[in-house]
Amino acid sequence: MVNLNSNVPEGPLAEKWTKYKAGQKLVNPKNKTKLDVIVVGTGLAGASAAASLGEMGFNVQSFCYQDSPRRAHSIAAQGGINAAKNYQNDGDSIYRLFFDTIKGGDYRSREGNVYRLAEVSNNIIDQCVAQGVPFAREYGGYLDNRSFGGAQVSRTFYARGQTGQQLLLGAYGALMRQVKLGKVKINARVEMHDLVIVDGKARGIITRDMVSGKIESHFAHAVVLATGGYGNTFFLSTMAMGANVSAAWQSHKRGALFANPSFVQIHPTCIPVHGDYQSKLTLMSESLRNDGRIWVPKNKEDAEKIRSGSLKPKDLKEEDRDYYLERRYPAFGNLVPRDVASRAAKERCDEGHGVGTGLAVFLDFKDAIAKMGKKTIEDKYGNLFQMYEKITDDNPYETPMMIYPAIHYSMGGLWVDYGLMTTIPGLFAIGEANFSDHGANRLGASALMQGLADGYFVLPYTIQNYLADDISTPRMSTDLPEFKAASKNVEDKMSRLINVKGSKTVDSFHKRLGHIMWNYVGMAREKKGLEKAIVEIQELRKEFWKDVKVPGLLNDLNTELEKAARVADFLELGELMARDALQREESCGGHFREEFKTPEGEALRNDKDFTFVAAWEHKGEGKKAELHKEVLNFEFVELKQRNYK
């Protein structure tokens, strides 16, 4: 029987977290040293959690597939991190950050969780400054802020266009300090492939050493997954090449419910796709929308001329340009939330106004440069402009950038309760790997906030509430049958992959999956397409297991084998994403169903029937997953149609 109790404490919104902490169980310092915790992933959430747990006295084992914890993909986050500091005196508050986040998420997230997120946001900035994170400052020496999509205040702290990097290096530093102190052990180039459950509780993981190929078992009293999102299901995304869902997916198959898998975010400002050989999409920070103006040619003929190269974009007269975001959403203009901006770009391109390959719109800094000067723009966005030029060979100071939406973030993930525990006791999920805080759409600069909130300030408390009952559980031997069985399971999977000896490469399957996902489970979805996607993914999965070709050896560094294991899981998750999108007969946030929209083409929610979290239970190979619903109760916020006009 699945228990979907969110365990959000009763009481007024602003007191829930205080109340939780006051009433929770704690583990005394001496007992902490007897308890082992595994943290998988070293991004913002994983590194901060592992470091904080180490500081508290737990014995932590940290795992990452990269060669160093510092390389986790949080590092690529550009724009910034939100906090309700109100340093700009523009009327910000914890409540407003909470409200913007709930509204931005299109009312599909938990009030209690989101309020807590807003509440600890300020502590994050304090913590990071203490760690020496060099946030941008004003001439007076105080911290600077910028504004981001979906908000009418400036609450985003940033470190040029490399905020994620600076925050991650801060957390990585804290992590390495614990390594020095002997409280954390780093296992780099080691990938998790299965979860071990003993007597109904998560008690360890099975990993593969990516250099030697050795399958290894690790015990812990609790397991924390901080393994990020599953955007790579789409093949082309802004995710790192190695980012994958395997740890979360294998845990799902072991009993953890997977929530809202169809909620993925399509980021509006990415460099457009330009060729078949392309391996990934590059994000241009949303912060660019602060000063850049988005437009397409008003007339299709002009768009055609620009596409063919006979008309230069900068030569198109002002009155022939359609600044469609400013036109449609005068209140928020270019700073509407991501899902809205993405769909608007798709709509213009589908109508034939696209530039570049036809699937691109302009992001123009002409006016900003004229107003503020090139130097100011260079200070703010220099590295982004440079990056753009290196990739496209176009100089954005001279000619407008071209952008198009791309898969960027997954709001869905493992279902967790208020304590960040999944439906498997002892298995926690934090950061992007869980589903909890962003609902159906995440606002810019909120992912960094959530990752660090979970890692520094939430999990270290809530995990104690669980571990307090485990202080007398001795360390277990990895010779237990549960470990042996899970280990054999992984070994078998690896040999199966290598022994298919088919004719097609892993990447070719991944690309085909990506096409299905992008066409049917992408920015605009409809019933027929989703049903088709389910069938096509099932067929592709069968073909994969019959015809994939994985060269090399089992017990060796084998990049193709690593990829194959990940793609095998994407092929299963892809189907669940389509199923979830199919069952949700409404449009909300990043999930847009063609059948459900307002006459103006905006997303149309159905609060009566779909104000719930869709949590899916794995029922075994080849069987349909079962849907469980956690109904979302909004006690403090009134559900409204989102309006950015």
Binding site: A51, G132, F135, Y277, K549, L557
Partner: protein, 246 residues
């Protein structure tokens, strides 16, 4: 475009490697260097050969994974980029391209073009942080920091730990990497408290790991994808003198 690639192949740390020549054809000028490598690997798999192993992850120039020494330069023939940001338009049709792994004693080759850079983590472990526990922090605006210092600190902190400085240096010195971390904290008031201890232990570890010393040639600065400058090395030297003499 068509190219001739001479690529270092090595089974593992214990075997000897050699250069193998691979021709590639019909490469788009707009593809990235790593996408060109992907195309080559796909063709190798089709021929039942093992693909070339190389480190890469974010493919947007920030994770610091990619680490190829191309035609005698770390990250190849372009300025201030990583390999994943290098595009084929920087090469000529028909060109021979030599691809080697980073070469340094503290960076042993693991396989083909992949090297082990955990030496960098070991240096950071010795003090590349400010010792503050979670939850201790005062309000972020308590200590104002001049914009100039904050900016300089950021410039140093922009290091991605790719190791191009070590690869470029004729002495395989890690001074630029270490100086970036030292500088980041030396420039901030919160970093001053442990400054002496930090520089002492990090340098001690750097030496122990077998990196060479700095001849001030500037090769590291020229090849650093993030534009970390030699001024940081001077600051590191200063910090070291302060720690030892001051």
């Amino acid at each position: 475009m068509d190219l001739k690639l001479k690529i270092w192949r090595q089974k593992n740390q214990n075997t000897k490697g050699k250069f193998v020549t691979y021709p590639v054809s019909n490469i788009s000028k707009d593809s990235s260097f790593l996408e060109m490598m992907d195309v080559l690997n796909e063709s190798l798999i089709a021929k039942d050969e093992e693909p070339i192993a190389f480190d890469h992850d974010c493919r947007e120039g920030i994770c610091g994974c990619c680490s190829l020494y191309i035609n005698g330069r770390p990250h190849g023939p372009d300025e201030k980029i990583t390999v994943c940001q290098l595009h084929m338009r920087k090469f000529k049709d028909g060109e021979t391209v030599v691809i080697e792994p980073w070469r340094a004693r503290p960076f042993p080759v693991i396989k083909d073009l992949i090297v082990d850079r955990t030496a960098f983590d070991k240096i950071i472990t010795e003090g590349g942080y400010i010792s503050v526990n979670t939850g201790n922090a005062a309000d972020a605006s308590v200590i104002p920091i001049s914009k100039e210092d904050a900016d300089l600190s950021f410039d140093a902190a922009a290091c991605i730990g790719c190791g191009a400085c070590v690869a470029a240096c004729k002495n395989a010195s890690a001074m630029l990497f270490v100086s970036a971390k030292i500088s980041q904290f030396a420039l901030l008031p919160q970093g001053r408290i442990e400054a002496k201890q930090r520089v002492d232990s990090m340098i001690s570890k750097m030496d122990e790991l077998g990196f060479g010393s700095c001849t001030n040639t500037g090769a590291c600065e020229a090849e650093c994808p993030k534009g970390i400058t030699l001024t940081n090395i001077a600051r590191l030297n200063r910090e070291f003198i302060k720690a030892k003499v001051g």
